[in-house]
Symmetry: C2
Subunit: 493 residues, 2 copies
């Protein structure tokens, strides 16, 4: 008899210890967020019996808390891209994403994601997610209008412009305000219910059930203070998120994310799925990486400013996506970081950033003095910048011409130093290594029979803040959920 | 009967499958490098029967290939430090190492290492490692004289000078040339032999033997094309190195180290020990980090130069340890990196760096033109630097006064861009999470009974190139080997 008090995610229950199956299904899905919902829909559509297990009292996960934006394109363009006058090619999308994640990119996953991207758009629309063929031209993290399409990454930024034609690929469900996530999830949840999927809320999955070869056969759950076993004839799909809410796990695997101060996720993002996978030999990769950012826009106009380090030097192009700028900030040697802007009388700092005003000046000398920057450095930086911007050039960091204007007096400097109160959101990108199908791999690169993972429990398309674009996390979660749902349902038993 | 063809390090042989023990010992040590030798000595001295298993035909591992330098100090100073006129405090050493590794430091390990550091010196001397009380004042990676003591890290560099009194802690065995590693290892190997430790060379350890709770009971080895089982009554100690020679493992866990082009290690550094530990639930941490460097000195005089990026800006203090400078280089946005130096007629580039001359100039304008750097940027950088250096200041990066001199014409710029032929040595810092005692921890933070790890198989004191000091790897390998040897020998059975 198993000692239940010792149950933890990284110790699978051995099949030989299971005395009876309390529940049986074809596919057991852990976590009813974006990935889990899509996995359930696809598995059911492929004819499998599906059960969903959710820790919370309702579904949604981090997807429902997000803007619901999906990064989609390629294949000539989604209908939304085309309605807005954009053609998109799969190669441009592929090259852009490969360049974004560089040495840590997963080529096979990016390839599958790009090739399946417009199909994924149609699938989402078919499931009731509404998009509108209107382009949100103004730079934003989230469109607060009901526009659907926006540039949500570094597509228009150097050096990406050198290898891929820029195209907006952020697809937000059409709704006013920051309400895309709930809208997206509601549509998916309706589809799950329609298919008669049995959903167990308030249910903690304790651990996997595996045989001596670590093949997965089911899960151990706790509902109403009772432990039950669930047989999953075709497979278990781990869709229970990343680990940004698990402090010891962050400290162990992603200690540098401690520079963030605002975890982005739901309380269930405790890495349990990743730990369960590791417990049966699953290989977790990219564990140190995460999204880590600084919401210095909106308003879009801050892009006209310059970031400078404690040397009074620029170090990044300010038209980069916010997490790429934050990556630059976090790489600077010790010392303060400032965002220098023109400020008229009614200047207000960016509302999401929570940055203090570190200094102001009618002249740049005055500002430099106030910031105690090395004598003349900021002055040279600004003069050089302004001179070049006047001509529409940024020879240092290649900021796009649309954001190049001399910065005029009076000046204000916002304190964007990490640890000085500025908001630094973060979440994790490390997870189980999977095939594009969602099959979890062990350390030898072999598939672990019966185990699948999707969303942030897997290490998916998005792999670093440096290369992130909005929509690659929700887009990947829903897409990878679908792939895993199909693959699990198609297992021979 | 076990299917031997399927044996791989991450799949432990189950105890229930073991039909007989071909060998029995108290402590089985895998890998006869610096860590393994020290583990064997301590385990034998604590009264345990010890067997050593080495893949190669002789011992040595990466320790014997290294300079043999150990990072030692604190506790008032080693006799060598004191003979050279240096007092050292444990707190200074501790604060220095904690600051070096920052968010990824292991406080308990650094504490134990600093507190045990002079004791470790005496232990090494007692085992026959010779040191000489002479200080190598000239900046070097390795003293080519027979001097023992040198500054081997960032001790004299800002911001370390703000939190710890500088003190040289690199202890090289006294011998002319780069021969400290063989000398150190020979002394240790003699001690191992003296203790009658049975050493099996040309022996591959295939996997661990563990029971169903992943408690470790022994190992499976292959010698002379035959498979044998070895029972380790008190424990198995994994001392078989890091994974810098395992390309698929590097690609999976430390993809960014691919920017290196010169692996530092022995052919056995294939991560097998780490994989074996993971196979019984061991938690591997810090897997993405490694030493990655650029040997831009010797000669020490290159420290008078300045590194500039594609913006013509400095980004690091050139008096930093070489891997800290390389860390700065590798963080720069795309584009070339140059080391700008004064060059007279008989200028020769640093011999270890393999850098091309990218440009020369009788004036800085000429050099800037030749390098095609943004107009005036390099000129401003150099003029500012020279003006400040004249007064012994470096307000930007706080280079120490001893290296501050205006750089005079004519100039030369060495191309230090990664991927342009410059030598970039690397090795790995990721490994099994252990207690300071060497006990391997699982994902729950519990000790895995019967399993120990030391040297680069464990994640030890050194954790990043950014914070590395020469001698922390060999110092940690020998020290952690000793701790693991003692702890294993002291297990109750």
């Amino acid at each position: 008899m198993h000692d239940a008090s010792k149950t933890n995610p990284t110790t699978p229950r051995r099949l030989s210890e299971v005395e009876k199956w309390d529940f049986e299904t074809d596919v057991a899905i852990i976590g009813f967020g974006g990935a889990g919902a899509c996995a359930a829909i696809e598995a059911a559509d492929a004819g499998a019996q599906v059960m969903l297990f959710e820790l919370a009292s309702e579904g949604g996960g981090s997807t429902a808390m997000s803007s619901g934006e999906s990064y989609l394109g390629g294949n000539g363009g989604t209908p939304i891209q085309r309605a807005c006058g954009f053609e998109d090619s799969t190669e441009d999308m592929f090259n852009y994403l490969m360049k974004s994640f560089g040495l840590i990119a997963d080529e096979a996953k990016i390839r599958a994601y790009c090739e399946g991207s417009t199909d994924h758009y149609h699938w989402l629309v078919d499931k009731g997610v509404p998009y509108k063929g209107s382009f949100h031209e103004r730079r934003a993290i989230i469109p607060m209008t009901d526009d659907s399409l926006l540039y949500s990454g570094n597509e228009k930024c150097w050096p990406f412009t050198e290898i891929a034609k820029p195209c907006p690929r952020g697809h937000a469900p059409t709704i006013e305000g920051d309400n895309g996530g709930p809208l997206l999830f509601k549509a998916l949840a309706n589809q799950v219910q329609k298919r008669g999927v049995q959903i167990h809320y308030d249910t903690r999955v304790l651990t996997l059930i595996a045989d001596d070869n670590n093949h997965v056969h089911g899960i151990v759950i706790r509902m109403n203070q009772q432990e039950y076993t669930v047989k999953a004839r075709k497979g278990v799909i781990l869709c229970n998120g990343g680990f940004c809410m698990n402090e010891p796990m962050l400290k162990k695997f992603a200690p540098k994310l401690a520079r963030g101060n605002y975890p982005v996720g739901n309380p269930g993002d405790t890495g349990t799925g990743i730990l369960m996978g590791m417990g049966v030999g699953g290989c977790a990769i990219n564990m140190s990486e995460g999204f880590i950012s600084m919401p210095f826009y909106p308003p879009a106009e801050t892009t006209f400013g310059i970031f400078v380090n404690a040397q009074g030097q620029r170090f990044v192009s300010e038209d980069n996506y916010h997490s790429r700028v934050a990556h630059g900030v976090l790489q600077q040697p010790e010392g303060r970081i400032y965002l220098v802007l023109h400020a008229d009388e009614d200047f207000t700092p960016p509302p999401l950033l929570n940055a203090d005003i570190a200094g102001t000046g009618e002249t740049i000398d005055e500002l430099e003095d106030e910031l105690k920057l090395p004598n003349g450095m900021l002055k040279h930086t600004l003069e050089f910048y302004n001179q070049q911007a006047e001509q529409g050039n940024d020879p240092l960091f290649h900021k796009a011409a649309e954001w190049l204007e001399p910065i005029k007096a009076p000046y204000v400097a916002l304190d964007c130093s990490p640890d000085r109160g500025v908001i630094i959101p973060y979440f994790t990108f490390g997870g189980l290594e999977t095939q594009p199908s969602g099959e979890v791999l062990n350390h030898n690169g072999d598939v672990i029979p019966g185990l699948f993972a999707a969303g942030r429990t897997a290490c998916g398309v998005p792999r670093s803040g440096e290369g992130y674009s909005s929509g690659t996390s929700v887009g990947d979660a829903t897409f990878s959920g679908r792939m895993a749902g199909k693959a699990a349902a198609n297992q021979k038993v």
